[in-house]
């Protein structure tokens, strides 16, 4: 039996599967938070969700609208501080962070600052917030974003947040902690990893009904392809039920697709 689901539900479901029980993850609002909530309710009840403003280990009752609102420490194990959370990341105790951005390049460098020049931006976005910190310091950076040529560009207008910068070894050479960097990019079309020798994006699995051409047409640069290219398992009835009934019943996030 085939189930119907929208692209946001698919992205959240796929992303959630990567968060294992017992891991620590710092998330923002929106899709990433929904993924962490879904993981917590499915296979990872002991996933330690943290928010950069200080929330530690909440049992999220509803979708937070701010990473500092009171939901982010509801029945948590801690209500702490930003320096504490950022210190956890810098100390090496945070496994995953989960980010989005206006633009991303083949190395996973993200732009959430501006389009145009810094002196006179054509479009100004919020800036790093905690994204640069988290992607600098957490072990694995996960990204969730719709895929199109406007977002997946050969060169971002402004590197807000480090991916693999210019390629292999560039992070370490720049001064970032060794062993960190982008891990997976989950889009509405596919799951992308990063090639070990080139640090460039490599497609690992195609979502149901998506072709290689679909992905190429929606990417502004050449992609690498895994030799054992897989197909993403569609969201299960169970995942969709929990997502729709328990994670986002008011459809704040899944209603956006």
């Amino acid at each position: 039996m085939s189930l119907t689901y929208n692209p946001m539900e698919l992205m959240i479901t796929v992303a959630a599967r990567y968060l294992e029980d017992g891991a620590t993850v710092v998330v923002g609002t929106g899709g990433p938070c929904a993924a962490a909530m879904l993981a917590q309710r499915m296979h990872a009840p002991n996933l330690m969700i943290m928010f950069e403003a200080g929330g530690i280990g909440p049992l999220l009752p509803t979708m937070p609208i701010s990473v500092g609102d009171s939901r982010t420490f509801y029945r948590g194990v801690g209500a702490s501080t930003m320096p504490d959370i950022m210190g956890m990341c810098q100390r090496g105790m945070v496994d995953y962070c989960f980010l989005g951005g206006a633009q991303v390049d083949p190395y996973g460098n993200l732009n959430s600052t501006l389009i145009g020049s810094h002196e006179r931006p054509k479009v100004r976005f919020p800036g790093s917030g905690g994204a640069n910190d988290l992607a600098s310091l957490c072990w694995r950076t996960m990204m969730m974003t719709p895929q199109d040529r406007r977002r997946f560009v050969p060169k971002v207008d402004f590197v807000t947040t480090p991916g693999y910068l210019g390629g292999p070894g560039a992070r370490e050479a720049a001064g970032l902690p060794p062993g960190t960097g982008p891990y997976k990019v989950i889009t509405n079309l596919c799951v992308i990893g990063f090639d070990e020798t080139t640090s460039r994006m490599k497609v690992e699995s195609l979502h149901p009904g998506v072709s290689r051409t679909d992905v190429e047409e929606n990417t502004g640069f050449p992609l690498l392809w895994a030799t054992d290219l897989g197909s993403t398992e569609a969201p299960t009835a169970d995942e969709l039920r929990v997502l729709r009934n328990h994670v986002d019943p008011l459809r704040y996030i899944i209603g956006r697709a």
């Binding site: 509803t62 501080t81 600052t113 917030g129 600098s136 590197v159 001064g175």
Partner: protein, 344 residues
């Protein structure tokens, strides 16, 4: 070149703090008087809370009413707070970590216009960078070493400098101490001397309070000093850091105040919509801020006590009416029991 707006000179700061009064005296005053006394044209300010959470809205409105101009602002997740200052064109320089957005709610058109029209001097940072810059100032050291921002344009457009670790030879980024002229912080409870209690996350406010030369506190409720002395472990900010204390119930409105009231999403949406057009925004700001005498009148305009009670129910996950909400009210325990508890 990116500009360092505030000097990290620790000895200059020590001289200031040496002269700062320590006496336990009654510092209760009005919002208008506190702003008039401590926030002057051109001052550099740091705002407590987190954008739409435990923010000192009443002080920000008063800055607009008094027509203060040329402020420098630490944009450490500055969302609705930044939106207010942008609407009043009260700033001319900003250290950016996160501005112009209201997180999941969308982007502020009016705040973006200031950047896109080149009306602000901008230096880029990150949330951790600004948090650690406060922490360095709070510790009285000229910089905090960190391992963030390397290799990015965020770093290039910041005023941070690279240094070498004297022990390991590793590269570190020196984040300069940030001593704001004035910090504005909203807390749950304070006594007349300024001993403050905060419930929930404190974000960067423990350091901001200690880094700032002057500190204006607004509180939901004034409490007797006996309450402070009974539970001294609850004191987040001791009195001698504080210059002025103002009792402002619902002072974080339309933001969230943990355990007290949730954010007013409808009003925040009305702000965002008003920003679509500069004239519409001007009239919105006149109606809600400039033409009202004080914060109480603003609250009245936004639905008064009735609306505040609704936001309190939302915060406490107690919905009105529906079966799902009743269930949520009856069982405010598990993450599975609460869907629909938002009450709207």
């Amino acid at each position: 070149m990116p500009e360092l707006f505030v000097s990290p000179d620790v000895d200059e700061a020590r001289r200031f703090f040496r002269a700062k009064p320590r006496r336990m005296e009654n510092k209760v005053t009005s919002v208008a008087a506190a702003v008039r006394r401590y926030i002057h044209d051109g001052a550099y300010i740091g705002i407590g809370g987190f954008g739409t959470n435990r923010v000192p809205t009443s002080l920000l409105h008063e800055i607009l009413r008094q027509g203060i101009r040329g402020l420098g602002v630490s944009g450490h997740t500055a969302t609705h707070d930044f939106q207010i200052l942008a609407a009043g064109e009260a700033m001319d320089r900003v250290d950016v970590a996160y501005v112009v957005g209201l997180e999941a709610r969308g982007l502020s058109r009016s705040a973006r216009r200031l950047f896109e029209q080149g009306k602000l001097k901008v230096t880029e940072w990150t949330n951790a960078a600004l948090a650690w810059r406060y922490q360095a100032a709070a510790m009285g050291i000229p910089f905090m070493p960190a391992r963030i921002m390397f290799g990015t344009d965020t770093c290039r457009y910041s005023a941070a400098k690279e240094i070498t670790c004297p022990y390991t030879g590793a590269k570190l980024l020196a984040l300069p101490a940030l001593y704001p002229d004035v910090a504005l912080i909203h807390v749950h409870r304070a006594d007349v001397y300024g001993n403050c209690q905060i419930d929930g996350i404190t974000v960067s406010d423990l350091d901001l309070a200690r880094a700032a030369r002057h500190l204006i506190v607004t509180c939901e409720r004034l409490i007797p000093t006996d309450e402070v002395r009974r539970e001294p472990d609850r004191t987040a900010i001791p009195c001698f850091l504080v210059d002025a204390v103002c009792e402002v119930p619902f002072g974080s409105y339309p933001g969230n105040m943990p355990y007290e009231y949730f954010s007013d999403e409808e009003h925040l949406q009305a702000w965002l919509e008003a920003e679509e057009d500069p004239e519409q925004l001007a009239s919105f700001v006149r109606r809600h801020i400039l033409d009202v005498p004080d914060f109480e009148a603003y609250l009245e305009l936004c639905g008064g006590l009735g609306r505040m009670r609704e936001l309190r129910l939302t915060e406490l996950l107690i919905g009105a009416g529906s079966a799902a909400a009743e269930q949520a009210g009856a069982e405010p325990a598990g993450p599975r029991g609460l869907e629909g508890g938002e009450g709207r």
